[in-house]
Symmetry: C2
Subunit: 285 residues, 2 copies
DNA sequence: TTGTATGCGTTATCAA
DNA sequence: TTGATAACGCATACAA
């Protein structure tokens, strides 16, 4: 008498301790719960191998669908696991081969980043440091937004990009390198909230005043950005809406709809952490 | 040939968007994953009705055990649902009737709070405001720690306690009331990280300088406490260890062990957000 | 044609 | 040293 469906959904999360992902998860969980589905959660901690394991675990448990934010987009094993999986897939802010037939919920990081960098260029900055996490879609789109801003103003690409991990450690190390290097940037964009924490630590250690000695922009709104003094400019999005949208896309797939892609906007919010570059900084180009 | 167990665990969380709970969850999930268990997560959003729903969902899915942090400890319906449940239960930082035969992982909030308040009393404070969330174990234990500190010094209980919810809104409103009232406190203790955000907002709105005009102590270490200027004193614990311990207790129950209780320590960390009370404050008692 | 995307082959790295 | 696994890069194919 029972249907073949388990009325459960698997969520493969990269790092649950990230408050952003927690919000996405909450949005998805709430929507799925209202539709009568339980959410199973697993944690990969940024490890592609555990992504594969987790996908297999969900396969064994016969979940009706998968929500996932994979650790590595191009990873051969991950793609192979997903190809074997029969259930609908919704990818959250990650690019996957179209042949998988997945749905996508993506943030338009590029537009927000472009607006942020144009704001810095308007203020007179020319050397900007961009600190990114692993080379997954959000990082790549953010870099493109940076490139577009410079290209649109016909300026030489004097920005410096530091790829790494979405960790406070990388944020701190990259900020230190940028600030201690030759021709240090007059503005820094932190591409993730853990990266922001690390960057702030390095900045505070050097006694630099935000908005005067150095400008700073954060990706994603953490409470810290509005409570910090001065308040920190940010590229905003709505993570809970992202989770809800992911859940809705999955529910449509379960109702026999085809794969869809939804792109959600990001918005730049100027705040006093951005000011004109210090006068002694070399204004090239 | 398959065992009757589903090798899955249900985690009933109050509010996943709380970074503290996210860390507890991650600790539990990692340990359970290593033991071959998948973690199912549901979210109650502080609503006892949804606690009951979620417990029933897990019952239907035949999970092997439950980890939970209930919204309301005394709630009749919640207790009744738990009584019906056949699987082992581990309660995280919540009191439940002993007749349920649950295991417990608890934080020793009282000791940390007592040390924190004694620090304030040593600095000369007599009027302290304590902002708490809902009346569950952490709040109750924190209040007791406050009481003990005053009693141990033979001081009149000039502290003021504000129970409410674990939200930034309550933190801001309660801080505003305390500061705008007659005989305002010279120090405030924020009993939860969302409460801290609200309190800081109210304090910043009034242009008060921490450590000089007002002293502030936070419960639980959010990155904000070390990045804020001045850094904010806190009562520290290890949420990830709490999740791991909860998972271990549950695994022991699954291996036919009896119910156990583990109490994990909290530690007060003094920081510059605490200073002597301003001279113009009335020093009573 | 140019940019983009995908799949395969190769190398590098780490752990046993 | 060997095995496995992850990162890199090229060639191809498709689309704008």
């Amino acid at each position: 008498m029972r249907s073949r469906t388990t009325h459960s959904i698997g969520f493969v999360a990269g790092d649950i301790s990230n408050p952003l992902l927690a919000e996405i998860l909450m949005g998805a969980e709430t929507t799925l719960h209202d539709a009568g589905y339980a959410t199973l959660l697993t944690n990969s901690e940024g490890n592609p191998g555990r992504d594969i394991e987790n996908i297999q675990i969900f396969e064994q448990r016969r979940v009706d669908g998968l929500l996932l934010s994979v650790a590595s987009e191009g990873h051969r094993g991950t793609i192979a696991s997903l190809r074997r999986t029969q259930v609908p897939i919704v990818s959250i802010d990650r690019n996957l081969p179209a042949s998988l037939g997945a749905s996508f919920v993506l943030s338009d990081h590029r537009t927000g980043m472009r607006a942020a960098v144009e704001h810095l260029l308007d203020l007179g900055h020319r050397r900007v440091g961009l600190i990114l996490g692993t080379p997954v879609r959000p990082s790549i789109e953010r870099q493109r937004g940076m490139e577009e801003a410079y290209a649109h103003r016909d300026l030489s690409p004097l920005y410096e990009v530091r790829l790494g991990t979405f960790s406070a450690e990388h944020g701190e190390a990259a900020t230190a390198e940028l600030l201690d290097g030759k021709d240090p940037p007059t503005a820094i964009v932190a591409g993730g909230n853990q990266i922001l924490y690390g960057a702030l630590k390095a900045i505070a250690n050097r006694g630099l005043e935000l908005g005067a000695d150095l400008s700073l922009i954060s990706c994603d709104a953490v409470s810290l950005t509005e409570l910090y003094r001065p308040p920190i400019a940010l590229i905003k999005r709505r993570p809970m809406a992202m989770g809800q949208e992911a859940a809705r896309l999955l529910l449509r797939r379960l109702g026999a709809g085809g794969p869809e892609t939804v792109v959600l906007p990001t918005e730049f919010v100027a705040r006093p952490s951005c000011g004109p570059p210090p006068l002694h900084a070399p204004l090239t180009n």
